[in-house]
Assembly symmetry: D2
Homo-oligomer: 342 residues x 4
């Protein structure tokens, strides 16, 4: 459900297809073998191809759920998984794939963000992009936006793709999984989006990213690297020609500066492994737990469009809130040009 | 303003004093020389020493503002500071210390959290503590909770305090600043606090921490270290005797597991420096900017009680929300003992 | 979408059927001739017949929309209808029946409230009922709960039903419509539900009722009759045997008193009439407007289950919020028995 | 606390004085004898006489509280008062005047609305006014806006003022109280403010009015009179010259039509009377309760500025939300002139 969306945005089922395909499983051997159709049915809020301003309801059905995969784990708590916490919170749990703790839940985030991305681009010239910035111990040797969409990893250095493929093949064979880091960047965001106390732009980005399954960390700009920096190095100086750096990641005091918004996100390694682990069942008995379903060896691989989606949704919300409060402030100061993005 | 607080909590002005003193400036040469009285006036919501259940209003006045310190910067945008973003958002800015982008704003967070800490401790046995986990390149060589409150840095290794003092003295003399990392830990949190989609416990912690001035990164549990971990190492196995590790930082699927909640926070180095920087003034002219006010060379030093405060506020909110929805679920499964905290 | 619903509530598609049938059109000649199947598909949040605690998504499709009925009015603003305001707000409008300004939108309110009614009854013994308290100038001569469900008007005096049928037949023949008053009553609500400032119980009931299509007024207890009352008559005195009256309608200071909650709601006469009216089209030209679709001559007739639904939803929300804040207050004072309901 | 207020609004302590004086007690013998200074201290959010866009905190202290007046009732539940419901909800109660269930609480609503009224007038030409439309059985014989501010009752017919004074004198002498009806009108509201499902303009007005102490009913436009109207009479026809009537009270489908917004509010008679009543004390004993404090014989007399305040606050909220979502829709259709207001 999307409420409060501006009217008049041209939107069609096909508009969702691009990013949903980027997020989808089953396209390479490196992700889960599930083949979800990811067809978006628009239930309301769009008339003659344009948003009406009233609530938009989108429906994407699970078409490749194999609930029998979950039979064995219905009575077990997989280590590192939400099985146990759901059980303790609610006294019950839906063990089938596609529940609210499944990465399947992110489908709708990507679908909704297709509208946000379109609006941000058309109305403000904002572009939201991302890439896989680390997988296990592997780091990109270069960063080329053109490379990212040409490999299944969203990896910014095309030359490293064979290395990554070998890495993933070995990982898959071992039955293990690995973590990853995703970096997302929004260019074209004007200065002024965000709030001073509640609803700070960076706080909302942090919540949005941390709400994605398997995320354990969020950074804005230099993030944890700032711990070791001196203030004289971190602060982004400016001249009339523009900012000289972008350590802040485009946000100061909770409000966008006009530079590129840069956020990095840490994904933990998947917990659903073929390798046995010690755990408990719902009767409290110690059991050896293995997972045989179709799971990703690295959830971070498909996470780039999800992180982009969350950034786009937060930015559009903030853009609308800014228009609400400051729609008549006008351009108060010639915008300082932003630094070329990270 | 605190709304929705349970009635009957014994609270007195003195209850705020402890944490406010921990947060206060002016106690050592390593923090800003401001001497704020930090006296809390309870305007409403407390009667005969107990909360009434109706909104609580607290007032702490600034008593040591020296607005003249800000005269020179009223027309300049300090690099790395919210001056520019406020100006662009609102078309105006209150340049005096104590504005919403000042660390002074965190006083009320600490005051409000005094109530939350008390309630969490009395009602659930939850204890929220924190420490400075890194300053610049300096890391603790050991971690002893007893040491933390006995030095002005909240540093967990007493033997390193002279080294830190020398480090800070040199830093202050240089006119520069440095970043820091704070780690906060909540023990005693029962399993089940949090939400499955919106309002995930980790998402709310991330937003709460990122909303603190100068924060650029948040981690839950192993955080960014998980990027390089294998799933077989990261997932926290369990036996009937308890969890065997706590890489997750006490949260799975947005819901607490009953283990210690562990969050780490990155603070950037202060931007207000005596060292000159290139910047612009409100007329667009290039200016050399130096800041002469009383600023902290490392805002992270005083940040431990602030991070504790934000964690306590989030936990109490989540505890109440959990009681709303699941107040009658009961203990559905014998709680798995948590790992000794990080 | 229902979020925050307690887990463990037994719920099946059939549970929705009863109230949806009460709300449905097409059962008598006195309501619109549309025949909607009103089949509820549970998309999420229910597993093995019980709510899981995670968000519940319900889907009811329109199966008897005749969009061609709307062709003629697509370019006209029907007087007294939201056509004009939607057009002015959004710059566009979905003219087909079933849009957000259609009474069809209340289907989901009734569906969602089926869960709320069940929870309120099972957990708290709360019963939510309603009746048609006036139609045009016709008032009930007696009030018998048993009569209400045995006639299509929810009229509390069975003897008057033939008179009402004749009244409605004449009205329908005339092509005109008429207003109505619905009264809803919740018994068994314990004292203490509601909030002191924001979220007052009566304020939330008022908003909930006023949000129903065609509603123009809301009263709690004696409502506008209190304007002419003396304080000595209005205030509900109490003895150890109970309250002696219920002028307050069960709410004092925004919080339930333990007496029956009583709310009355005014429905305006439908604006979609066969009788021609003066209006404008989207080009600004004056046009004569008549409506030929299948519309209710009195929307109030089917409104009783809708008003019940809104009351049930507000009560369940407030019950959960009360449990959040005051779940451990306990029964502080022996409850004063309530007055037999209005 | 006011959050989200646009920056740049000129505001000074004196701006609050006008409406606070209209709301104040102690000016005539017909209202409570309390003499509150009602001095507004601006704690934050205003710099050099203009709002900064950051949260605005206002403080008005009670200066004429006589807590001893409440000693006797501290252990009694006054019939018709929130004493009992607070006690049952919270297990405790602050019996002193000025608590959250006191009409004193409306001071801040009027103060906050001074900003909203100013913004609405300057930015949109919206004017919010009100009058006392009924007191007991007395109705205005004519309605002249000029008369309203020249008498302490906000009565629209100057010729009736002596009659009202005699009425109130007799009432006060009798020790009793009486109800009242207040009507508020906002002119100049453009079409398009409001929301289609959640946050309907009329729903928010209803909640806002019902949240005022002692209110028992709310009407929009014709309100309950619509129950007896025919659709052909109620629907507001339009020609190119404008709307021909305003039965809808300026709202259709939850969205403003461009006509005057008209709301009527029912105030119950005060429950705090010198006349004894049967009630209980906190020990469950039956007691005879009389109230000796300084109370209003008709709270409706001072309620006009309070109702205006709530209408202004809702309208400004909705104006900002409309700008957020539809700020670029533009004037899509020449506005139909509104009917001269009720």
């Amino acid at each position: 459900m999307i409420d409060g969306c501006p009217p008049g945005i041209a939107i069609a089922p096909e508009d969702f297809a691009h990013d949903l395909a980027r997020r989808a499983t089953g396209k390479t051997r490196h992700t889960s073998a599930r083949h979800e159709a990811d067809e978006v049915e628009i239930l309301s809020g769009v008339y003659e191809g344009r948003t009406t301003g009233t609530p938009i309801a989108l429906l994407v059905r699970n078409t490749d759920a194999r609930s029998r995969d979950y039979d064995r784990i219905a009575e077990q708590f997989r280590p590192g998984h939400a099985d146990y916490t759901y059980w303790q919170k609610y006294g019950a749990r839906d063990p089938r794939g596609g529940g609210r703790s499944s990465a399947r839940e992110t489908t709708m985030r990507v679908a909704a963000a297709a509208i946000a991305k379109k609006w941000l681009a058309e109305r403000h010239g904002v572009r939201v992009r991302g890439y896989l910035a680390q997988i296990g111990e592997v780091l990109p040797r270069s960063c080329d936006w053109a490379a990212i969409e040409s490999n299944p990893f969203f990896w910014p250095d095309a030359a490293q793709v064979p290395e990554l493929e070998a890495y993933m093949d070995a990982l898959r064979k071992s039955g293990d999984s690995v973590g990853a880091r995703v970096t997302v960047v929004a260019t074209g965001v004007p200065p002024g989006w965000g709030e001073p106390v509640y609803g700070k732009l960076d706080a909302e980005i942090a919540a949005a990213m941390m709400s994605i399954n398997a995320v354990k960390g969020v950074e804005i700009g230099d993030g944890f690297a700032a711990v070791m920096q001196k203030g004289s190095a971190h602060r982004d100086e400016a001249t009339a020609a523009g900012f000289l750096s972008n350590h802040a990641g485009g946000i100061l005091g909770g409000i966008s500066s006009g530079q590129a918004i840069v956020a990095s996100v840490a994904f933990k390694p998947t917990s659903s492994l073929r390798l046995p682990a010690r755990g408990l069942d719902v009767h409290g008995a110690e059991v050896e737990i293995t997972t045989t379903g179709r799971h990703d060896p690295c959830v971070g691989i498909r996470a780039t469009p999800i992180c982009e989606a969350m950034l786009a949704l937060v930015l559009m919300d903030q853009a609308l809130r800014h228009r609400a409060q400051c729609g008549d402030v006008g351009e108060v100061f010639p915008r300082i040009p932003g630094q070329a993005l990270k």
